[in-house]
């Protein structure tokens, strides 16, 4: 079976090129593929007769209970015959139905064959999940087939509707499948039946499974999608909506029935939904003017009948159902083909516009009558045999079955009525309508329909041999039914019912021709309205929920996050009461001083209305933090913090020089209160957590063990520095990457292309004056900005500062300092050059690509790590080198210094890059604007 499926898959993929190559003839070639399925099934007829199953298993995802387990039993055999046979005929038919110019026919062919393969897979799957897989594939393929002509809005919407409705059911079914599978520990249906759950669990699972089946087979209340799907090309309708896809639901009912029919929820669901569908579909079919829609509603009705019969849950009904399944597939597909021919040759399907076809197309007429008669249940056709069996089966049931029988009889009468309407509508001579002439319906075009119609006759006459085959399925029910299929059982009550049905149907048809009042009878709300309302409701819900949750406002998002923090953290705090009582006010009373400064500055920073005032106040908190670091025994931190604070101040000044001095908006009091409230809540929660967490510490910190190895293994006495460049050098490597990429980002942000800032050619800096100059390019600065004192002092201290940075770099291993601090110091030295001499001075001070500095620094740091690896150590492992040299004495060197040099260079590159961007480039923007403003003097520059 895997081979067959693979053949379908390959054929589907080859179909588009094949159609391009062979044109419409390709369809006939492709028809061989489903026909192969038919042939393959026929070779197993004997096995079916003997009640043997044909099975194959291939592994897939065992952990999920997924395996490609295939199993063909009588039911599936029957379905394979139908799917393969009708599929092959439909493809042959397609070759005539489409014109060579039809766009997308290659894609169509591929999807069609793919669909046939999916249907085949669905039928032969033993693993329920694999069955679901094929189930959904048919849904998707049908979506594509219904939407074959996507320029039609109706087709698009119908396709989506069918997709959604059947997927909805499918998902429910999936859950049902999982419920059964998880309970049984296997997903093979042949094994699940032996390990079914019971009670409410089973009832729920059954409901879910039936939801899938009923929606797929367009059973009430899901019926609406099928008529809408008639937007598809007619061969599709014939195949999907007569023989194949809609039968999937019926098939599922038939498959599950023998095992699940006794579940509490099975019969009520199946019988009620089926009967309602049978009646509703038949009634609605009577109202249609479009032949295709008439057939569609007829199909709905018949599917209701099939569900009722196959789901009734006893042997005779099952046998009858199987026969009916066969009959329906043949006559309905044939009739769809006929409609297609009519549509194709006359250009209309509206029965009010059709007249005189009987005479102009007599062959068509004969074929149609044959198929229609089967549908109506006229002996000796297959439809008749099926109906008879149904009546017989239900005649002998209990009160429920009697009730159902009443429904079935009424429904069958309606079937007769719409059959007559179909024949009358398509073929009769209507006085008011000009007769249509049909030119030459080719035999090849008609052949598929004729074959199927004839099949109905053959099956009817050959009911007895069929009985032997189909009984294999019916026998799955353990009850004592003993009915046999046959054309003639004698004068039975069932025969009487058949006659009654034909008579009543004719009467109803006659009535509908003469009166109109019945047209007003409609269901108060059908599924289509339900779908529309659901879709609208979904839209409203989506808009409301999205409007409520997606406010588009950054403060709201941040506030939400913080509220969650308050709730979760606060909740944990509340749950943790009473809090531990041990605390101390301070480690050192001096901490109070910076703490007080910090609190005051922080509070006033929130209230400042001038940008720089706020910046200064925040800066003060930074300085105070640094002092707290000093008091806490963290000189490295204080050192870095002071440097960073200075850098930050410079960066703020560089940017804020261009922004207005005051904050633009004065915040509203109300929203300010909310902000403050959230702030206080967050502060309280974080404080609380900090308190509780610190007080909760029992274990000793791992860092208490750093001291000795820092010296002996890391080669440095400053443990913080050893931690940074050795113990946790990996972090530091990441951290310089962060810095580096942030610096890149600054450049990307400031230099980013923008038409307004298209750069003029860089004017050459004025040539330096002769004589004593203090800086390389101080003269390029606007005279008003220059200061000789600043220039001279910069000149005098610059090298000293750089020297100091080198000191920090090398001293850092044993004293406060290190690569970060050193790099920042050089950065600030460059800042000084820039402040004193302007942007050209910066270029002169560091005439290198900042990227090169960054890259080199990162490379050195990484190189240290990799070198250690190449030498057989771990990444970033350091080595201690000690030499005794003449004159110099003992020289002690740690290779992690190289790493620190990398850090140093990266930090320099970062500051340089920031300075190039926020300093020099913004200078240039400013200058460009000034030039532009001078060019247009009428514009006032504020």
């Amino acid at each position: 079976m895997l081979v067959l499926l693979t053949v379908h898959l390959i054929a589907a993929m080859l179909a588009p090129p094949l159609v391009r190559w062979l044109g419409l003839r390709a369809f006939s070639v492709l028809a061989l593929v489903p026909a192969a399925g038919l042939g393959w099934a026929l070779t197993h007829t004997a096995a079916m007769r003997e009640g043997r199953a044909v099975a194959e298993v291939y592994p897939w995802a065992g952990r999920l209970g997924l395996e490609l387990a295939f199993r063909m039993t009588t039911l599936s055999w029957l379905m394979v015959l139908l799917v393969g046979g009708v599929g092959a005929l439909a493809l042959v038919y397609c070759g005539r139905y489409f014109t060579a110019a039809e766009p997308g026919s290659g894609r169509f062919a591929g999807v069609f064959v793919g669909f046939a393969g999916a249907m085949l897979g669905l039928i032969v799957s033993d693993n329920l999940i694999v069955l679901y897989v094929f189930w959904e594939l048919t849904t998707v393929f049908s979506y594509l087939l219904i939407g074959h002509d996507p320029s039609s809005r109706a087709a698009r919407r119908a396709a989506l509707q069918a997709l959604i409705v059947t997927t909805l059911g499918g998902l429910a079914m999936l859950v049902g499948v999982i419920m059964l599978g998880e309970h049984a520990g296997t997903y093979r249906w042949s094994q699940v039946v032996g390990a079914l759950p019971d009670g409410g669990y089973l009832a729920v699972a059954v409901i879910l499974l039936l939801l899938g089946a009923l929606s797929k087979s367009a059973i009430f209340p899901f019926s609406f999608w099928l008529p809408a799907a008639m937007a598809a090309p007619t061969p599709v309708s014939a195949y999907l909506h007569a023989a194949a896809m809609v039968k999937a639901g019926v098939f599922l009912v038939a498959l599950l029935g023998p095992a699940l029919a006794d579940a509490a929820s099975w019969r009520p669901t199946v019988l009620i939904a089926g009967t309602v569908t049978l009646l509703f579909g038949g009634w609605t079919a009577l109202r249609q003017h479009d032949l295709k829609l008439l057939l569609a509603y007829g199909t709905v009705s018949q599917l209701g009948l099939l569900v009722v019969v196959l789901g009734a849950g006893f042997r005779d009904a099952a046998l009858a159902g199987a026969m009916m399944l066969l009959a329906h597939a043949m006559f309905k597909a044939a009739l769809f083909f006929v409609v297609g021919i009519i549509d194709h040759t006359t250009g209309t399907r509206d029965l009010r516009e059709l007249s005189g076809l009987r005479r102009s197309a007599p062959a068509l007429w004969v074929v149609t009558v044959l198929a229609a008669a089967s549908m109506a249940g006229v002996p000796p056709l297959a439809g008749f045999v099926g109906k008879e069996a149904i009546f017989e089966a239900f005649l002998h049931g209990g009160r429920w079955e009697q009730l159902v029988l009443a429904g079935v009889v009424s429904g069958s009468a309606l079937t007769v009525a719409y059959t007559l309407r179909f024949l009358w509508g398509a073929f009769s001579d209507k006085p008011a309508v000009a007769p249509r002439t049909v030119h030459r319906v080719s035999w090849a075009f008609l052949a598929p329909a004729a074959l199927l119609a004839a099949g109905g006759l053959v099956a009817g006459l050959g009911a007895a041999p069929l009985d032997g085959l189909l009984a294999g399925y019916a026998g799955l029910y353990s009850d004592e039914g003993g009915y046999h299929l046959a054309v003639w059982h004698g004068l039975t009550p069932a025969l009487a019912l058949s006659a009654l049905v034909l008579a009543a149907g004719a009467a109803v048809f006659g009535l509908t021709l003469r009166t109109r009042w019945w047209r007003r009878l409609r269901l108060p709300m059908d599924g289509a309205t339900g779908y529309e309302r659901s879709a609208d409701g979904l839209g409203r819900l989506a808009v409301e929920v999205t409007g409520a949750t997606q406010r588009g406002s950054l403060p709201v998002y941040l506030g939400t996050i913080l509220l969650v923090l308050v709730v979760l953290g606060g909740g944990a705090l509340v749950a943790g009461r009473p809090w531990p009582g041990r605390f101390h006010l301070w480690d050192n009373p001096l901490q109070l001083v910076p703490a007080a400064v910090l609190v005051v500055a922080a509070v006033f920073a929130t209230r400042a209305r001038r940008r720089l005032a706020a910046v200064v106040l925040v800066g003060v908190t930074g300085y105070a933090t640094a002092v707290l670091f000093v008091l806490h025994g963290a000189p490295d931190l204080a050192l870095t913090q002071f440097l960073v604070e200075t850098c930050t101040m410079v960066m703020f000044v560089l940017v804020l020089r261009r922004l207005p001095g005051h904050f633009s908006v004065r915040p509203l009091v109300a929203s300010r209160r909310i902000r403050v409230a959230i702030g206080i809540a967050v502060g309280a929660v974080v404080s609380g957590l900090a308190y509780v967490a610190t007080a909760g510490r029992q274990a000793t910190a791992i860092s208490t063990a750093f001291g000795e190895p820092a010296v002996s293994y890391g080669g440095g006495r400053n443990i913080v520095n050893v931690t940074l460049v050795d113990i946790r050098a990996w972090d530091t490597m990441g951290e310089i990457s962060v810095l580096l990429v942030a610096a890149i980002g600054v450049a990307s942000m400031v230099f980013g292309g923008s038409p307004r800032l298209l750069r003029p050619r860089r004017p050459p800096p004025p040539t330096p004056p002769r004589g004593q100059v203090w800086l390389m390019a101080g003269h390029t600065l606007d005279a008003g900005l220059r200061s000789p004192i600043l220039e001279v002092v910069t000149r005098l201290v610059f090298h000293t500062i750089v020297l100091f940075s080198v000191y920090l770099l090398f001293a850092g291993h044993n004293a406060p300092g290190g690569g970060f601090a050193g790099g920042l110091v050089v950065g600030l030295a460059l800042v000084l050059r820039y402040l004193a001499g302007g942007r050209h001075e910066l270029d002169a001070a560091a005439p290198v690509d900042a990227g090169a500095v960054l890259g080199t620094g990162l490379f050195i740091a990484l190189g240290t790590g990799l070198t250690a690896m190449f030498l057989g150590g771990e990444v970033l492992q350091s080595a201690l080198l000690d030499w005794h040299l003449p004159v110099l004495g003992h020289v002690h060197f740690v290779t992690s210094t190289f790493f620190d040099v990398g850090v140093y260079l990266v930090v320099i590159g970062v500051i340089l890059n920031i300075l190039r961007s926020l300093g020099a480039e913004i200078d240039r923007h400013e200058q460009a604007e000034r030039v532009a403003a001078e060019a247009r003097p009428e514009e006032e520059l504020v």
């Binding site: 004593q772 203090w774 004192i789 610059f798 020297l803 000191y807 004495g889």
Partner: protein, 192 residues
């Protein structure tokens, strides 16, 4: 402090050695320990720093004069203490609004370095600060606090000239020292 003197190889070397010496001194002070290793590494590091970050050569024409330096330092310290005291008193004198003045002082020696050093010295002493300079005329504009009248203004101006003189006598060249005497400061005279 020449602006036109051609930089001969000798002066270039001298400048370099002076600069390096200053840097190496700084290096040694940072480490705080004299050792050959520190000296050699200091020279190396200084050389690298100077090579990586070149700046225009500063031709230092003068020479340090120990006596002048000592005099400068001594006077600076006394000024510092006195002024700090005065200003502290001023700060605590409630209800008094000190008056001040902005005074132009065109220096006699036309050198940026002298301008800078004089400015620094004046600034360091509490009560006076440089609000502007004019490089072309080597002029300092000094804000002075605690001057109540013209006489005080003139007194202060004289003190700045004295500072200038002390600085030039401490580190200036002979030519510069000669400029201090007899030559009236150029530029416009102060207004009556």
């Amino acid at each position: 402090m020449s602006r036109t003197a051609p930089a001969t190889a000798r002066t270039r070397w001298r400048d370099r050695i002076v600069t390096t010496a200053v840097l190496v001194t700084g290096w040694m002070l940072l480490w705080g320990v004299f050792s050959w290793a520190n000296l050699i590494s200091g020279i190396l590091v200084s050389a690298v720093v100077l090579a990586v970050f070149p700046l225009p050569p500063v031709t230092f024409a003068g020479r340090p004069r120990p006596l002048g330096l000592l005099r400068l330092a001594g006077r600076f310290l006394t000024d510092l203490v006195a002024a700090s005291g005065q200003l502290a008193v001023l700060a605590f004198r409630f209800g008094h609004q000190p008056r001040s003045a902005i005074i132009r002082v065109p220096l006699r020696v036309p050198s940026d370095l002298v301008l800078t050093l004089t400015g620094e010295a004046v600034s360091l002493v509490p009560g006076s600060l440089i609000v502007d300079t004019d490089q072309a005329s080597t002029t300092l504009y000094i804000h002075v606090i605690g001057v109540s009248d013209r006489a005080a203004v003139e007194k202060f101006r004289r003190s700045v000239y004295e500072t200038e003189a002390r600085i030039v006598r401490a580190i200036g060249s002979d030519a510069e020292i000669s400029m201090l005497d007899g030559r009236a400061p150029a530029g416009r005279e102060h207004h009556p």
